[in-house]
Every structure is written in structure tokens, then in C-alpha cells.
Amino acid sequence: MSIGDRISTRPAWSSDLPALLWRALTSPQFTLVLLLWLSGVIGLSQIIPQPLYSLDEPLMYSQWLASMPQFLWPLVDDLRSLGLFHLRTSAWLRLPLALLLVHALAMCASALPAVWQRTRVRAESSELLEKCTDEAPLALGRLLGLATWCAEAPEQVFSRAMQQLVQDGYTVRSNQRTQVGLAWRWHMGWWALCSIYVGLALLATGLLLHSWLSRTYTLILQPGQATSVPGLTALVLQLEDTHIAGDPLDPPEGVAHVRIAKAASSDEVVTLPLHAGRMIEGMWWTVVNIVPMVEVTARDAHEGRELEMWSFIPTAHAQPRVRLSLLGEGNASFASLPTQNITLRVGRAPDQGAPSCRFMLSFFYGVETTPAWTTTLGDGDEVIFEGVRYQASLSYDVQLRIQQSLWWGVAALGWLAVAVGGVLLALQRPVWLVVRTTKEAEHCRLIIWMDTLTPQALLPERLHSPGVPASVGDSGR
């Protein structure tokens, strides 16, 4: 009795390069290496900060550098030249994806003929039985070979083996004349294995093309202000109005109505709920945030004349109405009233005691850092400070993300194919058996080739079935 065990019967190591390359490409170990490589790069992209903008602009670069820990400054240029700050669009990610694509296609190409043959076995069993030789069959999973010698007639051993396989739930086809039999369980499982590799190929293709060709635009829409999409000049967006539900300063739900002005056709108003993406104009539109802002106006308390204010954001100019952020993000919360030498700041009211829809307005003299007066206001409230009447009201900016191109759909489809294949294989694993008996001197030799994806320890039990003594199967690999 002898047992052989190998992963596949693909060509042995050869000195010629194409065969060597093909063997490497169709090696199951390569899948492991590529998946680990991908995981490592994706993991690093989560640990190393990946700026969303290009670092080629000097201003952006200096701002970004300032945000980095100081000990990293001497290393930043070297790390940047290695592409570590744009990992998702760098060769570090694209190379394993490209290799995964090639590897998955190679795996499919090497597996498909055998899978097709096994699928057609019901219809073309006689042809397939004729083709079976003494050599090991083409393996898709783990190939286990078993040979045993008995002192009985080959016909008897063969019939008994095939009967036992039928009793064990195998579907069998046999040729009594040549004494070759085929037996299988759930042969669709081989398609599930193919589905995993087809899925991996699609996943890699989708991710590659997505990282290469797709564009993402993140826009801040303000009420009444036209905003053009940088890469799509024919498209101009205007925020018509916003409805929110729940806490006005931290809206969990809301809807934005956006007017889309197109050069080629008439305007259209679309309704975009918060956190509910929609496909519009072949692009994926998502309102990712509805940001509460405080609009402040200033009037002379006696004469009623409008006073101009300056917001602290870099591109601001004097205007009678300023929009200040409640997020406390640096200068966006500040404005000044130059004629009175007053600076004002908005902020959220402390959690304790204040109703949820109220915010704070603080007044500073000149460049002092301690507020001269702080008051809590609600939407539309007025307050007088140093002869100036201030009115504060809430309004909302909408943060909109537009995803151009649909390559993510290919990646999603690929992932789905992997998921379906994997779930099917998790439920049941396929087994393929080739049984043959031959007469050798006074003995009969029974040869069984088993190709399966089932764990090793569960195999001997199945090998016992065709009449092999129980002690035989225990010596595995």
C-alpha cells in the first residue's frame, strides 16, 4: 500500500522560464503572499496620515508639514519620495493589485478545463472514463493518491469499491470493461473555487481602475451661493434650502435641496438626504454632513445702520453678514468689527445646563484674549454690546461628496463573487475521485486518486469506504 499526497499535478520544476513563471503564477501560495501584501499596504495607509490633497502646492505642503509630529520633519521628504503619504494611489498598492489580477486569471485559466470537464461528466462520462490513465488526474485542490493490493479478482474489488461509494453518497460513473470509475460529491464546489479567483480578479481590476481613473470631489455648499465642481465646469450647484431634524446644532437627520445648473440643459432641483447616497448624472452623490453655522449681523443700536464685519478666514472681505463656524476650528469661528475695535467669537454652549439649541457669543476688546462679555443665544436672538445690536441666526452648510466613475461597482461585483464562492465552500467542500483496478501478478491493485478541498484529518474516513482497511488511511502527509 502506498499513499502519495501533493497539492497539484502541474508540470514539475523546469529550467525554462515560461514554465517556471507559470508555476509561480498558479501557485496557491502566491495568493497568500499577495493578500498579505495587500493587507499590509492597506493597514499602513490607515496608520500613516494620507492627505486628501496634492502636496505639490507649497502652501498646502507647509500646512501639512506643520501638522506632522516634529520628530518626523527630517524624514518627511524621504518618506514622501517613497510614496508613503499617497499609498492608495502609489505603486505599493497598485503592484500587488496588478499581480493579484494576473495571478487570479492564471489560476482560473489553469483550473477551468478541469472544472468544465467535471461539470460535463454526467453527459460525457464515457469519454472521460476512456481518457483516464494510470497517471494522476489534474488536481484543483489537494491531491491524495492511494494504492492498495488485494488477493481478490479485480472485477470484484472494483464493483465493491464503486458500490460503497454510492452508499456513501457519491455520484458515480464507471466502466466495467476498463475498470475505471469516477465518483464525486458536490462538484459545483469547483465552480465556487473558480468564483473566488474570478472575484479576486474583478476586485483587483475594480480597485486598480478606481484608484487610477476615478475622481472624488468634496464641496461645501452655502445657502444661495453658486459652487462649481472643479473637474466638471459644466455643472454648477446651488444650495436652495436645508431641513434638519433633531438637535439643531448636531443634526442627526436632514435633507438638502440642491439646484443643479447644467450648461446643456435646464436646471434641476434634487433632494439629497443626509447620509443617503444617490446616483445622479452617472455619479454617486452623498451629503456627508450638514454643518450648523451662525450668521451674525451688526447694526448701530441708535441709528439702525448696518455695520460691516470681517470674518477671519483668509479670503474674507468686509460685509454686513458673516457666517461663523460652531465647530471651533480656528479662525472660522471669529469675526471683527473694525469700527468698534471689537472681535467676536461663536462657540457651542457648555453641555451642562444649556438647552441643546443654544450657542455662545463672546466679545473681545482689541487683541485681548479674555472675553469682555459672553452670552448665550438661540436662533434669531438679538443682543446689544457697546452700542451695537447683534443678531445671530442659525443656517446650515452642506458638505457634499461626489464620486465620479463607477469602477467601484466592478470591485463590489468581484468581492461579491468571492463572497458567494467562499460561502458555498464554507457550507460544503467538493470531492473528486478516480478509482481504477488493475491485475498485477496474483494480486489486484486498487488505485484511488482523490482531489479535494476538505481538511486532511477528515479524509481517511472517506478513503476507508471503497474497501481499504482502516489502518491504511491514518498515514497522511
Partner: protein, 258 residues
Amino acid sequence: MMAHATLVFTAGGTLAVLIWLIAFGLRMRYVLCPAEASIHLTTIEIFTRIGLLLGIVSWGSYAALTWPQLPWRMALLPPVALAALMVQTSSPRRGSIPLAALCLYGYAVVAYGAALAPLWTGGGAEMLATPPALPLAAAREIATATAAGALLTHGLLLPVRCYLAQPFNDSLVEHLGDGTVRVAWVAVTLALAAAAWRAWSAWGEVARADVVVLFIAWSLLTAASLRQMVTGITMARMLYGLALLALALLLIMLVFIP
């Protein structure tokens, strides 16, 4: 009152998880080697029920006192963990499917432990706000805890096996090793689907922390699963390492990523 309830939940919950862990280890030992005289199924059942009682009382008192300010993860995971263990203890066929029994213990330990973790790390306030697309977040959470529970079972197989003095059923270890990886893979796939769907529909992108962590765990488990299929070896050192790495990622996901 609130601080008192938090203290009760932290102490009682931690004790319950520790008791379940002991019951889990004993149960695994019993499954692998029923011949070991020191283990009795009744002892394991008593441990499990004491843990259940502690878990129900501590979580119930905390939920009653903090409602509706109960962080969503604490509202979701402990009841599901308790339900899983109740099914395990009350099912008439609880001994017949060792894989399901052990995975349920693993799930309860991970899910209840993950709900408690913010109280230990002090990050409970971050979980207070209801996340967008809550049903998908809940599906992601339950599937992640299931995967982590299965991987915890896989991870405990080796040390428990080492402690067994008597000969044990090696093929059962292989069967459990294979089964736990299958359960974990399917659960991580579901968790990743829910997380990616949620991220895409709510933020228009999938490169978010939860999706990234789940994708890495999924890749590791896919690699482990494929390797397991083509080699036929379920408890190899490399597969064990990949499974433990995936478990660590899933625990990070459950504890730190809202």
C-alpha cells in the same frame, strides 16, 4: 446613581465574562477529551448559569438607570450575548454540535467583553451618539463579534489541547479548527458587507476605519482559508498566526472603532 450603576455593570459584567471564560475552557476540554475525570458537564452548566445571572442583573440595572442615554453598543451587544448563552444552555441538543456550542461561548465572551471595554478604557462617551444607518452598524457589530468569537475558539484550541493529560480526539480538533475558520470567514464577510454598504451609502467612500480593519481581517482569513483548503492542514502554525492576527483586528474594531 449613574456612577453606581456603571460600577455595578463594570464589576458584575467583568465577573460574568471571567466565569464564562472558565466555563468556555472547561467545555472545550470536555469536548476534546470527555474521559478527563475532573470535568463534569454539570459544573460547566452551573458556571454558565451563574455568569448568565450576573450578566443579566448587572446589564439590566445599568440599562434601566441610563436609558435612554445608553450607548448604542452597550444596548446592542450584551442582550445578544446573553441570548446566545441562553440558547446554548436551554437547547436540548446543546451537546450534539460541539462547534456551535463553543462558538456561542466565544461569541458571548467577545460581545459582552466588547460592550464592557469602553468602561475600562474610558471611551464610553464616544459611543453615545446613534450612528448613521444603525441597522447596518448593528449587523456589522453582531457579525464581527461572531467572527471574533469563532476565532477565539480557534485560538483556545491549541492551549487547551496542550493541557490535556489524556489522549484526545485529534480529528475533532481538526474539525473544530476548520469549522471555526469557516464560521469566522462567513461572519467577517457579512460584517464587511454591512460596513462597506453603510460607509458607501452614508459617506460616499469605503476607506473608513471600520471597513479597512474588516477588509484586512477578511484578507487574512481568506488567505488562511484558501491555504487550509489546498494543504488540508487546519492547525498549522501559519494559519494559527493569521487567525490570531485577524482576531486582534476584530477586537480593535469592536472596542475602539464606533
